[in-house]
Assembly symmetry: C2
Homo-oligomer: 735 residues x 2
């Protein structure tokens, strides 16, 4: 047998294509099968989306669709080209409703056993009875430990699968049916629409291999346009949040934690509120800035939402509930209206937990896991400084959700500004980011002399003043971004056209101070890229590092890193890691001139935001380590509990919150702030809530006891040490 599995880059709701060949002799064919005896589609949404599947079946072969559709409904689901292929090539079409069958026999969403059995019966790889026999034996072996009822359930599924398929007569009329029209593309810049049509859509349909080289000519330098992820409309979520405008207290916490930026508050003028689509829910402004001025709306994008339910978990008033996606479909038009038509009002809202959410997230709809903590952090950073931001991204989850080719989830403001993003190798990403910083600094320092000339000798007051404002804010990202806009506008309006004015206009994109961020996971920051990270932090330059600390190599399947904790089960630490987690924050603090913070959004959203703001403001290197619960942790109840898990982690002392700000030391103040309170929750309860720990008690119960005790002890010592450090810094300040 030869087996090859083809994946897309999506973490949740991604596509897998299994290419299987059977034979008595070793098989040495190229992996991809394009003329198959048998093709099955296990997920009906792929049929709706028009994936090319039946085209891989050879004439006379078998095509099986797993769906709840009646035979007469197939015509409206299967696209025209596929129907023509079915009819013209004498394909034997079958359907099977493994979805309802699985529910019926108690297997929930697990349709695979049923479909496997159907495969063996229809594909005739071996005699059907023999296949059933083998499958049952294998199921017995696999599930014996879990109990006889599980074994029985699987045997039942095997029996069902071998018989539950239905042969469909392909209507002769399909042989010359017309193409199904392409779905309408949401309006966007022409270049983006072209990129979406030519590259993104075929790639999304797993048909990227069919693209000719010429399709990429416009992107020969590797650049893709920001914001294309908005065109994916993946519709992966089964349930999506429904907002109750009556119950909502407008705290924006749902938006603050949303990993996918699919629930967002909007401030609407009366006029904007009046023009909103009928399905829009719009409330009076309840408190604070905006009250009496604006209307409030919390919009949801059902097709972009991943259905993680994290928003529901953090809502203090149960104003958000999960409902079937179809029911909320009308909200898509509301969403589009809010995003497209409602004017940004960012400058009115300060960077508080609530206020930050009126700032456009410049990371949206990424292919991360539903509920991912990493994207929540990254999204928040883009709300703070995304319009004047460069990102150097280490290889890992964050480069997969951050930049799958042609599908940038990083996006731009209406003015056209957004994060410039690039992925480096695993090991040299810090250096890559430092290079970005130094590059922009060199260009700006060159242009500065032009602006100094204008500030001194400019004949137009507005230009001279704008130049002065630019110079005064030279090192302050946000202020300089605004000053640059003014300066460019003034020169564009009244510039003399002389060499300095020309230089300003020609280089207008380079003028504003860029905030450089270096993103990566713990595998990068603690291990493979640490040598470079240390070196870059040591240089004293104004770069900001954000580490998504999942305490494991998430992207490559869960290998232990130096961020992994005592007792944690991981690849290369199957019996639980014995060594303590590396203190990356403490290491960076030894320099004295590096801003360092540990954050956990779900535990203290305001502290997380404060740290990001301080890091951006600090004119030297900054390192923020964000605790990032992850699918790999196997948290009880799943990633819905991601933010709640952060809270528990901090409460029990598993993770500590603190900030070390050298800017304060320079003012003679204590640079160290311990934001965590003394642990109160149970450390053991916390870790036992995650299978990455609890699994150890099953396989190595005594060792688990030992390691968990040690881990808890270490956590206590760690917090005590932080308190002593706090005292130490206080004493230092006094001395």
């Amino acid at each position: 047998m030869q087996a090859y599995f083809q994946y897309d880059s999506k973490k949740t709701g991604g596509v897998t294509i299994s290419h299987l060949r059977f034979g008595d002799k070793p098989i040495k064919s190229p992996y991809y099968i394009s003329k198959a005896d048998f093709v099955a589609c296990h997920n009906p949404s792929y049929v709706d989306k028009g994936f090319k599947m039946v085209q891989d079946v050879k004439p006379g072969g078998v095509y099986l669709i797993n769906c709840q559709w009646k035979p007469e409904e197939l015509e409206k689901h299967i696209d025209g080209a596929s129907r023509r292929y079915l009819a013209q090539n004498n394909i034997q079409l079958y359907t099977i409703d493994a979805i309802d069958l699985a529910i019926e026999i108690g297997m929930g969403k697990r349709t695979n056993t049923i479909l496997q059995s159907a495969f063996f019966t229809l594909a005739k790889v071996m005699p059907a009875e023999e296949a059933v026999q083998h499958m049952k034996e294998a199921a017995t072996k696999s599930y014996r430990k879990k109990g006889q009822d599980i074994v029985d359930m699987n045997h039942k599924a095997i029996d069902l699968g071998a018989n539950a398929f239905v042969k469909i007569d392909v209507p002769a009329s399909w042989a010359d049916c017309p193409d199904t029209p392409e779905p309408e593309v949401h309006p966007d810049r022409p270049e983006v629409m072209k990129m979406v049509k030519d590259i993104l859509t075929p790639v999304d349909k797993m048909d990227g291999d069919s693209l000719p080289v010429s399709a990429f000519v416009d992107h020969a330098d590797g650049t893709f346009y920001l914001g294309a992820a908005a065109h994916e409309k993946r519709g992966v979520a089964v349930t999506v949040p429904r907002w109750d405008e009556g119950k909502c207290i407008q705290c924006n916490q749902c938006a603050y934690v949303c990993p996918h930026a699919t629930i967002r508050p909007f401030a609407l003028t009366e006029e904007e509120a009046a023009k909103a689509p009928e399905a829009a829910k719009i409330a009076d402004w309840k408190a604070g800035k905006g009250k009496g001025v604006y209307k409030f709306a919390m919009a949801v994008s059902p097709l972009d939402c991943m259905g993680c339910g994290v928003c529901v978990g953090v809502c203090p008033t149960k104003a958000v509930t999960m409902v079937p996606r179809e029911e909320e479909q009308p909200q898509e038009a509301v969403w589009n209206y809010m995003v497209d038509e409602v004017a940004p009002k960012e400058e009115l809202f300060e960077m508080t937990v609530k206020g930050s959410q009126f700032h456009q997230p410049l990371l949206e709809f990424s292919g991360s896991c539903a509920g991912c903590a990493e994207t929540s952090y990254a999204r928040l950073v883009t709300q703070v400084c995304g319009d004047h931001m460069y990102i150097a991204n280490a290889t890992g989850c964050s480069s997969i959700w951050g930049g799958p080719a042609a599908t940038s989830p990083y996006t731009r403001t209406k003015e056209g500004r957004g994060p410039a993003w690039a992925n480096s190798l695993f090991e040299d990403n810090a250096e890559f980011g430092l290079g970005m910083y130094i590059g922009q600094k060199a260009i700006r320092d060159r242009l500065k002399s032009d602006i100094e000339f204008v500030a001194e000798n400019g004949k137009v007051d507005s230009i001279r003043e704008a130049a002065k404002e630019y110079l005064a804010s030279y090192d302050d990202g946000k202020a300089n971004e605004l000053a640059t806009r003014k300066l460019v506008a003034a020169v564009e309006k009244d510039g003399c056209g002389g060499e300095h004015c020309q230089a300003i206009l020609k280089n207008k994109e380079f003028l504003a101070k860029k905030t450089v961020w270096i993103f990566g996971g713990d595998g990068w920051a603690y291990d493979i890229g640490f040598g470079g990270l240390d070196h870059v932090l040591a240089q004293g330059e104004d770069v900001n590092v954000l580490v998504f600390d999942t305490e494991v190599y998430s992207n490559t399947g869960g290998q232990a890193s130096k961020a992994s904790q005592i007792g944690q089960v991981a690849q290369f630490a199957a019996a639980g890691k014995t060594l303590a987690k590396k203190s990356l924050a403490q290491i960076a603090m030894t320099y004295g001139y590096v801003y360092v913070a540990q954050i956990a959004m779900g535990a203290n959203p305001a502290q997380a935001l404060k740290a990001i703001g301080e890091a951006v403001a600090y004119p030297g290197p900054s390192l923020i380590i964000g605790y990032a619960p992850c699918e790999m942790h196997s948290i009880k109840g799943g990633m819905t509990n991601c933010q709640a898990e952060m809270k528990k982690a901090v409460e029990c002392g598993y993770w500590n919150l603190f900030r070390y700000n050298p800017a304060l030391a320079a003012e003679g103040k204590n640079p160290f702030t311990l934001d965590s309170k003394a642990p109160t929750g149970s450390y053991r309860d916390f870790i036992m809530n995650e299978a990455r720990y609890s699994a150890l008690t099953i396989n190595f119960p005594e060792r688990a006891e030992e390691l968990f005790t040690e881990a808890e002890k270490k956590a206590g010592e760690r917090f005590a040490n932080l308190e002593l450090q706090k005292q130490m810094f206080e004493q230092e300040v006094k001395a």
Copy 2:
């Protein structure tokens, strides 16, 4: 003009051969010149050593020797083959006494200007007057800043050089004079003597290029025999120490600090004392162990000594003085007697500063700079555990003095045990050392079961007991080394020849616990290899790291590293480094399970030795950072003051001494010991004693003031922080 310079790998007293071609058109010849119009030998010792030089002069060409010899003395200095070549090829032989001329005009050892002028006159590259004109202009330009007297002196040297050479008539009899007999090789193992003859000697004479590939066949795997450096007998020192047995209090400090292991104490029985050569100075034992039992001798090897004078500086009673080497030549025989004939009595002497020096140094006569601090540290480590030691050495000075091909300065005991040494790349040396550790551990763990079997079932009491002793000392390097000897001896004597006994004998070299050391400089540890060093320390395995911290990339010419200090002038920091030195020790301490120490031999010899002993004893990773003054620091008075400079560095708080021993924490004790006292000396005085700092006051006086003030402030803060840390650890222990 084409110029190529050929060097050997010696740091002090090394050889440079300048290959120069002149022409009006670009020269694209291969660099080495083997048929020259002109060859000059600037150092008469090369003639005495029999370097092939005149053989590179083409028939009829010019050969100039700088020497103080009279014409009639030449015959006894120039070897036979060279004399034949001179006579047979009509070489025009000249001598010049630039040595006395330079002294005469006040230029001291600086003979180069005189010899350059002689070169231009004799080699006739351009008209002599024109050459003199150019040289004088260049000298004026180079030395104007240093004063007119320096300019005048150089002009005088140029005039002298152009005229002071003497034409020698080559006697016709030289044409068929016999070969000069090869000097006698000191007896050694036959394989070493062969290697010395076939490889080391030609390489030492800069004639390595003439060696055929076949000369290396015995070393095809890159292995060279230990101890070959003892055959170099370089005779580089002009003055060497003379020991006054009357004044000596037998503290052994001279030997303790000797970078070259060329002054060593010996404990002699009456019989050994009686047999010593006539020139031997032997004293009664004054105090402590050995008194009434042994005689005491401090032996010096004049031909191996580098003449640094560090021993003189540390002697508390002026019992060591520097005298011309020739005067001490008779001591060479004494040295050979002591080394070859006096029995080792190591086991009687404990690892104190004094006692350690009766343990054979297993690093001797390296090609380091005279006075090098690095070799003092490394030599001391070999005295502690060199007979069961592996060394992984990063590229840098320590790999150059540590392992020039065929000339290992690491050596062996009379029993044949010594450090196994290998050099890795710059960046992965820590990993290389970890690999050595894991390799030997895997082999030992496999053999352990054989010994367990023998301990349980052995029929011979002595074997069974030895096996038990072996197992009991399994993780203790020194004890296990001794237990292994016993075990092997017992099995060799009374073993049954069964499979377990066979395994023990077959693998006897692998049985003893090896102490693995990872050596490297700050360029490696703080910068290029830091990612790996961090990772290796984090693994918790029993490896020991010794960092020779010269605060600069010494081997490559003085580039700043992250170990460089504020205000220090270095390559890439020509205007003084602005950022503080990285706290490598503090970083390693964040792990909690890494033994960490900062030492400075000259400041506190006992603390340095203590740290080395603790590191070896600690069963986890250890990191020792040794402050290593260096030629690159340009210390006033030179490297003679190396050890005294360490003392000053610690006294003024420039360098701090401390030890962090996790073994103590495990016992509930304070793991942190601050060995430095509060700074008393002047920080500014200290740094102004080294041109790496004082140079800044010349080129950037204001900036120097600013940076030096900052550096002093930081040093104060650093010490205060160490005191607070000490308190913090005390509080932790109490809690």
